[in-house]
Symmetry: C2
Subunit: 140 residues, 2 copies
Amino acid sequence: MRLTTKGRYAVRALFCLSKYTDEKPTPLSVVAKDQDISLNFLEQLFVHLRKNGIVSSVRGPRGGYRLAKKPKDITIGEVLRAVGEATYPVFCTEDDIPNNKQCPRADECVTHLLWIKLGKTINDFLDSTTLEELYQFKPE
Amino acid sequence: MRLTTKGRYAVRALFCLSKYTDEKPTPLSVVAKDQDISLNFLEQLFVHLRKNGIVSSVRGPRGGYRLAKKPKDITIGEVLRAVGEATYPVFCTEDDIPNNKQCPRADECVTHLLWIKLGKTINDFLDSTTLEELYQFKPE
DNA sequence: TATAACTTGACTATTATTGTTAGTTTAGCA
DNA sequence: TGCTAAACTAACAATAATAGTCAAGTTATA
Ligand code: FES
Ligand code: FES
């Protein structure tokens, strides 16, 4: 039950973006250098962040990305889900279940409700924590 | 952030064991058939469950496993950790960190405390839920 | 003493993750 | 108008983790 780099990088990258609050967009090359993340990998993540309305993009020279909402309106949960990080601990709680991953006896599965409750606990936390709150976590 | 089969199978297998409350131990072949899990894979899991004092074994003919404690004294958290399932979402919260997995700038890492808090939320849940409570989740 | 079960370790197939390569498109600017 | 910086796209490859298998023991009792 580990977060993947997709999720971890996305949060770090967005935190980095939130530091540049001026009007001009920030190119990913800056984020990549600042956070030591492969530029190409970042680009893949930002495609999904943009499609989910978390960032907006400006193409061409002097272009880049900026947050589409205020940090306090961006939850960690929506960021993780945007980049494809699973926030529920089992497959069977989601819509399109790969058949081979399905619990063979869902009807009588005693653990299903347990994992649902765990997932709810996790998502309640993630959805009530925003990007803005990262600032208060920052060590001095 | 998915549970692996190790964790999921371990919980299901122990629940299965808890159904056979008579004195004689239950062979893994019964659990394997009941839960549709590879016998050899189960054996690997039970090595760790035994070493962590969750089950006890009886060798020889008519042997098998039984719970070493009462279901209400076995938490989901200890089961998951026993079989090697990570219950914290990031590596850097644990003792022996593979170097390549370490966040490169742990000192100034703004997300570290976030993941610690998430991990605490998860573990609080797991450690306050026991095997016994699975019965009340069972659908009729 | 034969057998049913546990025990151990090594091995393999599969899948998921992580990252790379190689481009195309867009738009500001000299 | 051409150069360049940036977003965008898609396919590909390396690596690592997972899931499961196989084979060869060991133990204890019927
Ligand atoms: S059907 Fe969801 S955990 Fe078994
Ligand atoms: S050092 Fe723990 S998340 Fe970065």
